[in-house]
Symmetry: D2
Subunit: 336 residues, 4 copies
């Protein structure tokens, strides 16, 4: 059994992570931390877990934490996360980090978009980005993996293979994403108060969302190509799920059907990416680690529709997939 | 009092129409028809209207209908509508038609997209399109107005003034629309069964939705410009509301802010179009006849966000606005 | 035109009140106050009202307020409200108070359930309770009316006539209520955070909800009868609407059908209470001032189902109905 | 590996059953039947299952079915189910039946409430009722188990131990249940059309729901006690989950706290029933096989709140729990 600790366990991604790990045959969760000084009972924070895990929250303390764990999942907010991650790596604990701290190619871009000094700047750019379907080899040998953003996962899975093979133009790339409200986290805020977002759709962060540079930089890393995607997220009255509608221009002689076939070939051996003929909806992948993708033609554009569960393939499922690879277990363990 | 009849009164747009007309000081609803041979009681079909309107449904019969009404709203499906509308016009009854039958510029395009012979082909192309903010003069003198589609209304209100003034490129124009489920009508269907569309988002009709040629043709009519917009509708788990996110390329030297200012000027005197600095959400206009629009920059693109209530400004509110103009009443009567 | 001021205008009930008053032909809203020292712009707080009312929020100041208004609606929380109300009454301004401060029969019960000293204890017990269908005469002559709680409105409208006529036993009376989340107000709180209450139902405040003594005391006032109703509210994933399912024992020789007929007679002349043969659902009354009631038999119990919109008949619609009565206007003005 | 067949695999309970069985280590699904003569592809009916199970639907044929399976789950509607079940039993195939056909104590009651002749009347009354926490011994030795109704499960789990121990009066027992829409099945119907039931709550089947005699008869079987529970189900705008609020009178000298303690003792060794101090909400048990129960005092009544997922503990999870017992596997296999 691999002893696992979770740093920052009170949010929605941590809850999903715990639920997956409770079904994982090779894992034992040994410690859960929270920054809440009251050290609440687990079942008060996550009533779903009543009687399922005999642990309460404790404050993070590096010595006791590292004594109890072989592997850590870090679910803290950006900047707070890297402070802990670097300590864990120094003690030889492997980590999957859920924050944005190690996703980008350079610390300068991080500091520009997140408006905070990076606590571990030297490491940025050398950490594998945790989409196994694109970075499996690097992940296999890594001490630290940067778990990807939920929107970028939905966009990069279809875009990277198409741009790599030069099948679509690098501009325009328009990503219109729709997400359930759990993506906004668990902290109460008027914008996510039930009567504010129920029965309503809103765009937000137009031209300013931090997942935009993440998408651009990962494409640069995978495809050696500069793109400047237009990304607009929308808040949808549902708990979970992301649907990204991506508008791209196929290269001369290529159409949506050819793009679709290329993706089918590219992902033929992958369990968790399904290229489908029917347009997928988010419910097709709810509570699963799948990303479903389909492509249709509309005039000169190819319209890519990509769906995933923001808390699973967009967060905790991907994290466990990365964990499995990092510790040498079959990649789908606990996930199907 | 103007005596009004409603043809095809069992659907959601008819319900909203009746609710608006019950608050309209100059209108008396005298007859409601349905194609349901059982002639159901009004309150069985629309329990909201219990004790508010002392009428039951009857089958449409041209003589009795025209005796009872000065004006008709026709809420039938396409093709069925034109069959009735032409009879009403022959008897001198003015009509607002909710169907798509008279919206396009030519019957051939209608027949291509709707796959049915047009019952009144000669009239197609000469009927004013019922967006008063763009076609007020024609509407004023019309016997028949083609009430616009809900998606086209959300797209044309921002696009027409910008294209007319040559402020944006005519390509690409990408319209990514999100709609509540009431837009799909009231007929039960697995796709709109509660547990199928709740907690889910789906794209549908990609490249094939009938509102795409409607948008293109009305732009041709208003701006004398051929466009080929890319239009993708999405089904959102909510009752009502449309949010269209529209990606356009500003002309050289123009940015989102300039586009926004132009729209503000263009709609300064209009009650029902509000150009806002904050990004609007559909709830800002729910149950109202307003369309709210805002524009933000994202890289080289301007991102237009336009919201309206699909059953009001996207259907029955616009219909009453057209009615008011056609009969010489103040345009906002019953609508504010 | 009656000049109206609203004290505490940032919440959901105030928004609905403003929307109703904007359609009211005899009213002019002249001032809106908020306890927010930043005095926000109205359209920032309520984007629905953009360009519809040319006012911003100000801090409450008794002199300037009373100079501007003939009538006040007070939408403050309990205790805070009475502090203002007593000042307004001293200056001769009539008031409808939305808080619980003047609903109960005595200040002692208020202080027991609300755990705060009552700022205007002497007046408690002499203020008409604002259900016009039960207290119209008192309301007509009142300077102050206590607008009723949303749950009590749904329960008292069916219960009072049945208990008054001795048609049902006074015990047991079990009121199982279901409410949309807007009833919890607009202040962000984890319990009302979208992903917490979406896709979930919860009971709350079992045996401890403050609307329970309100129901009991108003029955005592109307029927001169001591009851001890069992009241359990539930939070439902929807914006608005209350459905109360009320289990009562008909007296010997009486059945559900007889109860239903008595209610039909009792409310025959009332516009806003509809006794229906079909079981009503909350959507039948959404966005209206109606309360729909139906009664069915289940074994020895009669099961009363009562629905209303918590923000309209359960709050702001009732308030305007009371206002109309207090100022001598037709009771339905602005409400149908 | 136990070869399992599913009869009637197109509905929501079948989908959940398949998802559970795909995670079950000792099961192989070998055949799926549908009454749809077109024999649709599995992924067209259940897109969630794309690439996860290499089977399509076939028509039921007794010989080929029994050759392929060791155990059958029958998910057909009532009456249709018993027709198949009796054939399967004749061939020696063990069955869990999801329908109501074998739940009641006698065929006469079945025929009275379901208004159809029972195809296998002789067997009714001798089939164990599939709540393992109450009938484990009988289930262990059974060839056929009647999987319980979702509402009865939520009511019987708290009621049976309390009535057995004579801790509450046998009358009144008032069960006010709230259910998500998936409980109504997958067949499109205006009542379950998204815009009809979204943003609305409705009571239905008051005094007439078929789960009422089921509750009464199972209590008779477990407790040897005649009760006549008052049962009212309500439709809630959410996918899944049942919350039952149950009003009971504790016996002299007993209060809610004593009832709660008795349930805690009774269910101490049970994995899937959690008696909690905090009031549970349906989301605490969504997508799990748990039933959470809590009891609070309200005046003379004890108010029991019981929650479960109607598709899991209320249907497919319970079915797999029964299956595990019937075939001698650990009861929680595949369910935690």
């Amino acid at each position: 059994m691999i002893r696992v600790g979770i740093v920052g366990g009170t949010g929605y991604t941590a809850l999903e992570l715990i639920k997956i790990l409770l079904r994982h045959p090779d894992v034992c969760i040994t410690t859960l931390t929270s920054r809440d000084e009251s050290c609440p009972a687990l079942s008060d924070v996550h009533p779903q877990l009543r009687e399922r895990l005999d642990l309460n929250f404790s404050l993070f303390e590096i010595n006791s934490f590292t004594e109890q764990v072989d592997f850590a999942f870090c679910c803290l907010p950006h900047a707070a996360s890297a402070e802990i991650v670097k300590q864990l790596l120094d003690r030889g604990i492997k980590v999957v980090d859920f924050s944005a701290d190690y996703r980008l190619n350079d610390a300068a871009t991080f500091e520009q978009w997140y408006q905070v000094e990076h606590p571990d700047a030297a490491r940025v750019g050398s950490v594998p980005y945790g989409i196994p379907e694109l970075f499996r080899t690097e992940i296999k040998n890594a001490e630290l993996v940067a778990n990807p953003g939920c929107f970028p996962s939905s966009a990069l899975l279809p875009l990277a293979p198409l741009l790599s093979q030069n099948l679509i133009e690098s501009t325009p790339i328009i990503i219109d994403s729709k997400t359930g409200v759990s993506g906004a986290g668990r902290k109460p805020n008027l914008k996510f108060h039930y009567p504010e977002c129920n029965e309503s759709v809103a765009a937000y962060g137009v031209g300013q969302h931090r997942h935009m540079p993440e998408i651009n930089q990962i494409i640069a890393r995978v495809c050696n190509l500069e793109i400047s995607a237009t990304f607009t997220p929308h808040l949808i009255p549902m708990d979970r799920g992301i649907l990204s509608t991506i508008y791209v221009s196929p290269k001369q002689g290529v159409d949506a059907s050819a793009l679709q076939n290329h993706l089918k070939d590219f992902y033929r051996e992958e369990t968790f990416v399904r290229v489908t003929d029917m347009l997928p909806k988010t419910k097709d992948v709810s509570h699963t680690n799948f990303c479903d993708i389909s492509i249709a033609q509309c005039g000169d554009f190819a319209v890519i529709v990509s769906v995933l569960d923001n808390l699973i393939k967009g967060a905790s499922g991907a994290a466990v997939q990365n964990f499995n690879i990092m510790v040498g277990l079959p990649e789908t363990t606990g996930l199907v």
